[in-house]
Subunit: 280 residues, 2 copies
């Protein structure tokens, strides 16, 4: 089972606490043995780390912990290869430039027979369904909008494209341009928005606690999005099946949720992954 | 003075020895205090590290040493900011996808009033002359060739574009798609091709030696390209002013050298940099 982790905040925030729990799932507490990737926006720039070593044992992951990079938008992915060989070119998150901005994308799931026509602007380098989906999404956006459109138009377009692509299979994804972070659930995706008053949190996968009050200011707002909740003593919300949300500065600012919403149980989500032999 | 470092080989090779000498120039033996970047091709993928800390003191540079990444094509850059603010978005090497391949580009120099029309395919994210030059180069190549052309046509096109851009000022650059590595000198650029019989080399900037015979096989061919020679006891060749070369598997396979060639003295090259207040 691949896992996704994202963060969207109103102030540059250190993701180390969440990343520690997340990366433990890469080889210690779970079975993600095919590498990982993480991208941090810093202003308009992106710091991108890919590793084909399991994240629990990766020196790159050690560096991330030691370096305490602060970012307003982060997307990370632990990979269990299901499509395409394990190689650096197939490691999420993928990055492209659109409208003079870098965009990051990570996916877990499996898109069956998803081979869209090769685009004019964006071509996949590796051979995953995920990178093809990202390139297709950007190609359609770029074709439709020569410049970045307003928030409503952007959300509507991503919504339409998401509906189109998810017809091909499981399409849990996160995508960000450094301002917005889109998150879409086919099966399992959870989030939490931490804001004042901040309390203490305890990692599920590790004997580690953090007192957020000590490392934040009262105005901070930090959304963390992950396949499964990372902490034991906080209330995580779940995205409904086929729900798309758009985060901005730590808040959900746009939302497309099917009515009535259906929430997938964790076991059911994991079972679906096992049944089709792919990642959740 | 910014500095460039590149490597092009016929077998995945560890660049740590050269990088150690190079990175020492970032804050210890030279005055590059504005960060550095290095990109490694691994197959079709790219591992990209950027840091806004001086390379001599950077934990990212420490990781690169510890990790001993093997690559057939590497481009690195130590930056002394002269154009644009120091930020991650302005840190070389820059990366874009073209023809389903990642391309890396690093530049030292200064292009005066270089503001080409905004392209259809490639937009700068930061605000450096260097990234604009890279985007312009790709834009023109992509417009001319929907797919990657043959080696001759590619070299001819890069040659023409280089001549066009260098009219705007100092344009020392390296560019690679993971197969080819282009290197162009406006002022100072040196290279060495190491092949059997391998000997011992001694770093200029550091009390470090390496016996290449112990870490290579007889068929290895490794070209290292750098602003200034990195070793004391080897014979480096210099690129002539306005010379463009294309490396492939450790050999120069195409070359465009003005006749008669003019070779710039190191002091003269450094003086030009100082005189215009920009990087060499």
């Amino acid at each position: 089972m691949c896992q996704l982790l994202g963060m969207n905040c109103n102030t540059p925030t250190d993701i180390v606490f969440s990343f520690e729990g997340f990366r433990r799932r890469g080889g210690l507490t779970d079975h993600h043995a095919d590498g990982f990737g993480i991208g941090f926006f810093e202003g308009r720039g992106v710091r991108l780390f890919h590793d084909d070593k399991p994240s629990a044992h990766s020196p790159v992951a050690d560096l991330i912990r030691a370096y305490q990079i602060k970012s307003e938008n982060v997307i990370a992915h632990i990979r269990k290869a299901t499509q395409g060989q394990t190689s650096l070119a197939n490691t999420h998150p993928f990055m492209r430039e659109m409208w003079g901005e870098y965009w990051l994308f990570a996916h877990n799931g499996h898109l069956k027979n998803f081979f869209p026509e090769i685009g004019q602007y964006y071509h996949a380098v590796g051979n995953t369904d995920s990178e093809r989906a990202f390139c297709y999404m950007l190609e359609q956006l770029r074709t439709r909008f020569p410049e970045r459109p307003d928030t409503d138009a952007l959300f509507e377009a991503v919504k339409e494209l998401t509906k189109e692509i998810r017809e091909y299979g499981l399409f849990n994804f996160m995508m960000s341009n450094g301002d917005y972070l889109f998150a879409h659930a086919s099966t399992l995706l959870h989030y939490i928005v931490r804001k004042a008053p901040f309390g203490e949190a305890h990692l599920l996968d590790d004997d580690v606690s953090i007192d957020f009050a000590a490392v934040t200011t009262p105005n901070d707002k930090v959304a963390v999005i992950a396949t499964l909740p990372l902490t034991a003593n906080e209330q995580w919300s779940q995205l409904a099946v086929d729900e798309l949300v758009m985060f901005y500065q730590g808040d959900i600012v746009r939302r497309d949720r099917p009515e009535p919403p259906v929430y997938m149980g964790t076991e059911e989500g994991l079972e679906i992954a096992r049944a089709v032999g792919v990642s959740v």
